[in-house]
Amino acid sequence: MPVRMNKDWIPLTPESVKRLKGQLGVYQIQDPAGQVVFIGYAGGRSLYGLRGELERELASRGPGHSFRCEVNMQYLTRWKELLMVHAADHRELPAENRKLPAPGLGRISPV
């Protein structure tokens, strides 16, 4: 598993979200300008897992956003890793994560 999530972006539409399964995992949201604006996870309390979380994202965002996700049972440690990698690459967390209470994060220097 690469440190950075490098899957292709998928348009955030009802059709694409409907194809997702209710598994646990992590996801990223990209805005129409191509910026990663949010990194989230579908955890043990998420209704319908990744599909439920992405349905919620779809309902709360305008058109033009895209997403990519990763099924992962270790969703919390992977989520924290993705946040730390983003912080290492961009010197700050994604814009919408900055508005939320921050989890305890360390510093990593991915190659």
């Binding site: 440190v3 955890g43 043990g44 270790q74 969703y75 440690t77 890793e81 730390m84 991915p110």
Partner: protein, 388 residues
């Protein structure tokens, strides 16, 4: 050895049990099942309560400001603080305070001033880096990270694997080979600041553990002052081996705490769950699982307490500590496995803590010296070193 708990031990045990039940478990109802931290405000509030109880810094020796309790009492409390979902690797989410690394108590006064005391005050955090990709059970041969003397400094190159907390720590203890011609006697322990040039945390290592993920470290021409050598050059393994063995005892006790809770849950469930018209508690197959759990719990508990008693009374205890670690980690795994079987499908869901304990307990048979190394220690002690 006195088999009855003292009044003070019972009181402390009951106090901590009530604290876990009333303060910690309700918080977990609002957290993700894999969470390893609580809201900072809750954390500070609970730390204040623990300080009022006089139990902050449970693992800190009394002469360094920890509570004046013996190792038996400490082990009994470790069995209590782990009795919640995150309890194995994040007992009470750290509100009982940290204990620092055992080796640091052997540091010189200058090093204690710069590292140990700030850590005990909660101002600095540390990591411990021994294991490498080449192995962790036989570090004398496996360590490939090197440190070469250059004037007043040492220059470290290499990598470490499965290192907890390095990404958040202020400093760490890194073991490196300083004499390639020697095995065990060619390893030195260095205190390394994480903001030093050449220190890198390359990635998170995802494991069965939900809390306190591991990391992979890389050192590229990392310069460390000679004044940061802990102990003597080439004698890194000699530092605090007694304290390291001692730390295995509450480590084993924490495994038992989780298993005790799993057994409690199993008994409660067996008394209410019906199959084919009757309660599980009436089924001999279930009764025997509960009895086997009881055998595992009671035998492991006595081994843990015996090790704690001997270590606390200045008696030889390496055999007892190895047996306690070996038996408690393996017994706890069996107990939680049976508890899952009794709970059926519910047991493997994230609705209950059993699946998390099942995953995290599996690591305990490997961490802090795997079962095979504990057996090796016991064999060496009971048969004699000449046969090894």
């Amino acid at each position: 050895m006195e088999l009855e708990l003292t009044d003070e031990q019972r009181l402390l045990q009951q106090t901590v049990r009530r604290f876990v039940k009333e303060q910690i478990v309700p918080l977990e109802d609002q957290l993700d099942p894999d969470a390893d931290e609580i809201d900072p405000q809750d954390h500070n509030r609970l730390v204040a309560q623990v300080k009022v109880m006089g139990l902050y810094g449970l693992g800190i020796p009394a002469q360094y400001g920890g509570p004046a309790i013996d190792l038996v009492t400490h082990s009994l409390l470790a069995m209590e603080t782990s009795q919640h979902r995150a309890g194995l690797y994040a007992p009470c989410y750290g509100v009982f305070g940290g204990s620092s690394l055992a080796q640091l108590y052997e540091a010189n006064e200058d090093q204690k001033q710069r590292y140990l005391y700030p850590t005990l005050r909660g101002e600095k955090t540390a990591f411990f880096a021994l294991t490498e990709a080449s192995g962790g059970s036989d570090p004398a041969r496996a360590i490939r990270t090197t440190a070469v003397r250059d004037g007043d400094d040492w220059v470290i190159n290499g990598s470490k694997l499965f290192i907890s907390g390095a990404d958040r720590a202020d400093y760490g203890l890194i073991f490196a080979r300083t004499d390639p011609s020697q095995g065990r006697n060619g390893i030195t322990c260095f205190i390394v600041d994480t903001d030093a040039k050449g220190f890198y945390v390359r990635r998170v290592v995802h494991t069965l553990r939900s809390a306190e993920y591991a990391t992979e470290l890389q050192f590229e021409n990392l310069r460390v002052s000679h004044r940061n050598v802990l102990g003597e050059v080439n004698k890194g393994f000699a530092i605090a081996s007694d304290r390291v063995s001692r730390a295995r005892i509450p480590y084993a006790a924490a495994c038992l705490g989780v298993a005790m809770k799993a057994q409690e849950m199993s008994i409660e469930y067996a008394k209410v769950r019906k199959t084919f018209g009757d309660l599980l508690a009436t089924r001999q197959a279930i009764q025997w699982m509960i009895v086997d759990n009881e055998i595992d719990l009671r035998s492991a508990r006595w081994l843990v307490l015996e090790a704690a008693f001997k270590a606390g009374h200045g008696q030889p205890f390496t055999t007892e500590a190895a047996l306690a670690k070996l038996v408690a980690t393996e017994a706890a795994g069996r107990v939680v496995d049976r508890a899952i079987q009794i709970h059926g499908g519910n047991g493997v869901t994230k609705d209950l803590p059993l699946e998390r304990w099942y995953r995290e307990l599996r690591i305990r048979r490997i961490g802090e010296g795997p079962s095979e190394i504990q057996r090796l220690i016991v064999a060496r002690n009971v048969i004699g070193g000449a046969f090894h």
